[in-house]
């Protein structure tokens, strides 16, 4: 049951004047005075309450402090409230943000602790607790050439700690390599966790990947296309010499066998698409020659275009 306020005890309104309070007190005091009510303990108790209420409200300063909530009805300093024990207490969940932090977040947190929370490798029994160490995840980026032919990379974790990572030839962008035992140490003699390395393959300025093959575009001169030539072509394993057949054209595709993704069993190929560049478009000798040559070699290069 709620405690009565001194105003209620005296039967006055909270905004009563001091005069009204005094009158109310006197009226009640006369009714309840112990000398006038011998042998009535409830009247005596009531009289004490009324006196205490009047004591508080007749003092302007105390009354003001009470109204501000600084002291309670007995005149004692009111303890400073604190929201925190409530917020963290049994009912605090009612003001917890919805959907921002819930059980699944906590489970994510446990997942970050690895499988030590009771997944594979965890074992509890008479001989004590053993758990596999956590897996550690890292990312690294390699270029397309290293991805195509394979490589060994050193991944620095800190100045004193590194992992030697073997990049297998033909690794795909986003592929995860697992280094067994390179994760966190196990608990209670359990085996260590693994290092998981997510490898990204950076796009290359010249080469692009097409399954197990490598594709590139090679600019050639008009003379090389018309007359044929031997030119140097970059590949993932280094430059090679390639023959451009006489009478090649823009769009001609040449294959370099075995120069694609360097898989041990069945390496892919490199496909080179030629792109003929005139080189001297404003050259007067060339123009003079074409003027003589063109009338006898009519051609419509756009006949294959779909009608619009």
């Amino acid at each position: 049951m709620a405690t009565e306020t001194p105003y209620e005890i005296l039967g006055v309104k909270p905004n009563a004047s001091s005069d009204e309070i005094r009158k109310a007190y006197r009226k009640l005091a006369k009714q309840l005075h112990p000398d006038l009510n011998p042998g009535k303990p409830e009247a005596e108790a009531r009289f004490k309450a009324v006196s205490a209420a009047y004591d508080l409200l007749s003092d302007a300063e105390k009354r003001a402090r009470y109204d501000r909530g600084e002291i309670d009805e007995t005149g004692a300093e009111r303890p400073r409230y604190s929201y925190r024990p409530h917020a963290e207490g049994a009912e605090g969940w009612r003001y917890q943000p919805q959907g921002e932090m819930d059980l699944s977040d906590l489970e994510d947190l446990f997942a970050a602790f690895g499988s030590a929370g009771g997944g594979r490798g965890g074992r509890r029994g008479g001989e004590g607790f053993r758990a596999r160490g956590i897996d550690r995840t890292f990312t690294m980026t390699v270029d397309l050439v290293d991805a195509a032919k394979g490589d060994k990379k050193r991944l620095s974790l800190s100045p004193e700690e590194w992992l030697d990572v073997t990049i297998p030839a033909g690794i795909e962008d986003g592929q995860v390599l697992r280094l067994r035992g390179k994760g966190g140490p196990g608990f209670g003699g359990g085996e260590p966790g693994d290092a998981l390395i997510e490898v990204h393959v950076a796009p290359h300025a010249v080469f692009s990947r097409d399954g197990n093959d490598i594709r590139m575009e090679l600019p050639v001169s008009l003379a090389e296309a018309v007359l044929g030539a031997r030119v140097s072509v970059p590949t993932v394993t280094g430059p090679v010499t390639m023959s451009i057949p006489k009478g090649s054209d823009t769009g001609t595709v040449l294959r370099l066998r075995g120069k694609g993704i360097q898989r041990r069993a069945d390496p892919g190929d490199q496909y080179v698409t030629l792109n003929v560049v005139i080189g001297y478009p404003g050259d007067p000798e060339l123009a003079e020659f074409i003027e003589k040559w063109a009338p006898t070699h009519p051609s419509d290069q756009r006949r294959g275009m779909p009608p619009l």
Partner: protein, 107 residues
Amino acid sequence: MIALDELLRRLRGLDRRELIQWVENRWVLPEQSGNTWLFHEVDVARVELIQEIRHEFAVDDEALPIVLDLLDQVYGLRRQLRRLCDALAAQPEEVQQAIRSALPPSR
């Protein structure tokens, strides 16, 4: 649990219309029981908190929801952290030891 009138009686200096506004803003979430509101202890403490932030710290009605939201997030996190700590405290000593030694220094 107390009703609106008892709350107003208990927290003197609280304006009725203001309190109703706070509930309507959903800054305070009393239990709805028929046509009346029932304020739990946590609600009462929250009303006092709002009163203090609003009047003593002079945070206005625009900024107050942000303050409350941040507080709720902090307490939500603390509750979750407490759950986690309780779960850790229930682990065998070896596991606790391992976790303690794996904790990086907090600085």
